[in-house]
Subunit: 315 residues, 2 copies
């Protein structure tokens, strides 16, 4: 059981939807704690960072962090920082991705994007500063907070930093964006499409799972492999479902511009496989994710439920 | 003496200009080692990262890292990583700063800027990926490389990461950029101008000095204060001299567009203080930098010489 969490193990566990809402609500407090206050100079930059980060998104990556932390009893102090860090990386990538020189999108999560609400230069700096902030909060000294009994925390933090940096960089998320840009108007094979998404969204989803776990202990090769299998399955499923929703839902439901990929002539799972086969693939990946978690038993309950959520979500 | 450096202490120390050229030349190898190869996917992104990072810049920040490392016998393995990391943060900030939504500059170090040579989206991603790469290389596991005798390296690395992240973020370099943007066309007081530059360029120069030192040991409060005094003096001097050069040199000498600040109606030391008083201020700051280093004796030789270089440079 998590040392910082009040004892709840004696009672029945929370229903998934209640656990999810608790984490999502908690993330607003966590981000509030780890983002600079708007009273700090430069106020407008900090206001814009909060405008885009604290908007009640789905918080899929923080949910994965906390769910993976359940398996290894990761201390709450580290989970909060890991969840905030991975979400800041995600949010910064959305801010930059929405800019005119990239996807040129005016609407995100139902609100004007940062460059529309503020200006392009501010959007650029908001993204840059959020990335730095992620590494700042994850590298803060925690030995005092966690006590001398947790002497290995520094080594675990450094390992987490290294994992997050690689997931965010040119052989991770940024690399995926670059491949995505280069693929507009091109015919991609299924393997090429998978590689693009494995980097663009998969790397950071994998980082979320591993950060939550690594905060608790140094993982064995078997544990890492099992979590990798899980992360690969949900990462791919996430993108397949994104493509299904982009093709079938409307903008009001999504909170962003629907049908944009098709309009931009971007290759998607739906355009390559068709709708029915895409849905079957998502379902198959959900099964793979469940199978990967078998060694962790009941402690992987939330990760299993998140695989279901990722495949069954409507937005 | 640095454990990884071949013994040179028995001979006379290198002349400053030879030491500087050795470090500058060495940085090309160090960056080559720590940047992804162009054979790695996505090749075009990695090519663009190398295009902008490996161009034989002045390498002021790496010079500060190595010079500060001299004082505390910081292991070469850590110095190389710190120097590369701080230079990658600096280079990414130039790439983003040159973009059309910021300074819209076509020339940098005598070459077309990244968004001109490639395109805007690539420039955005090059900057993003270089920032992640900086944190990646600084958080790599080094205990095997440095040996069990250096058990504290993990804690020192984490401290270095935290310092660099804060220097790069919204209360450091990015914050200074935001203040700079907001100040175009405004009349700034000398104090406001100083605060802007303390964040925009001062924070990263300070980080370079402290990273080199922190890699060797946990600093005492007195040591940190002395290095802070030095870093504050050279950080300010650096900007004052930048403004003097912008007002007096030509574009061919600078390798970038000269007179741009005045044309953009940006406040500068020269516009506020005039040329003669700006030159006197730079000289005074050089004296302050030397005074701050007194406690470190002969071991601070390179830091002293760098203060001279920063004030006396012609480009």
């Amino acid at each position: 059981m998590n040392a910082q969490m009040p004892a709840a193990s004696a009672q029945a566990p929370l229903a998934f939807v209640d656990w999810m809402r608790q984490v999502q609500g908690g993330m607003e407090d966590v981000l509030d704690r780890f983002l600079p206050a708007t009273s700090v100079v430069p106020a407008r930059l900090h206001e814009a960072m909060r405008y885009t980060a604290m908007d009640g998104g789905k918080r899929v990556r923080p949910l994965l962090v906390y769910a993976a932390g359940d398996i290894f009893d990761t201390p709450r102090a580290l989970l909060d920082r890991a969840a905030a860090a991975v979400e800041m990386i995600h949010v910064y990538s959305l801010v930059h991705d929405d800019m005119p020189c990239m996807d040129d999108d005016a609407l995100r999560r139902g609100k004007p994007t940062v460059h529309v609400q503020y200006d392009e230069a501010t959007a650029l700096l908001v993204g840059d500063a959020l990335q730095a902030q992620a590494f700042d909060i994850l590298s803060a000294p925690l030995e005092a907070e966690l006590g001398k009994s947790d002497a290995g925390v520094t080594a675990r933090q450094l390992r987490m930093m290294n994992l997050l940096a690689q997931a965010a960089g040119s052989v991770g998320m940024c690399g995926g964006q670059a491949i995505d840009l280069a693929s507009v108007g091109m015919t991609l094979s299924l393997a090429e499409l998978e590689q693009m998404h494995r980097l663009k969204t998969g790397a950071l989803l994998r980082a979320a799972v591993l950060l939550g776990a690594l905060g608790g202990k140094t993982l064995t090769a078997d544990e890492t492999a099992a979590l990798d299998d899980y992360a690969r399955a949900i990462g791919l499923a996430f993108q397949v479902v994104d493509d299904i929703l982009d093709a079938t839902a409307d903008s009001a439901t999504l909170g962003k511009t629907a049908g944009k990929d098709a309009a931009d002539n971007k290759p998607t799972y739906v355009s390559i496989l068709g709708l029915a086969e895409s849905q079957a693939l998502a379902e198959k990946l959900r099964g793979n994710a469940h199978a990967a978690l078998a060694p962790f038993g009941e402690k992987a309950r939330r990760l299993r439920e998140l695989a279901d959520l990722i495949v069954q979500r409507k937005t």
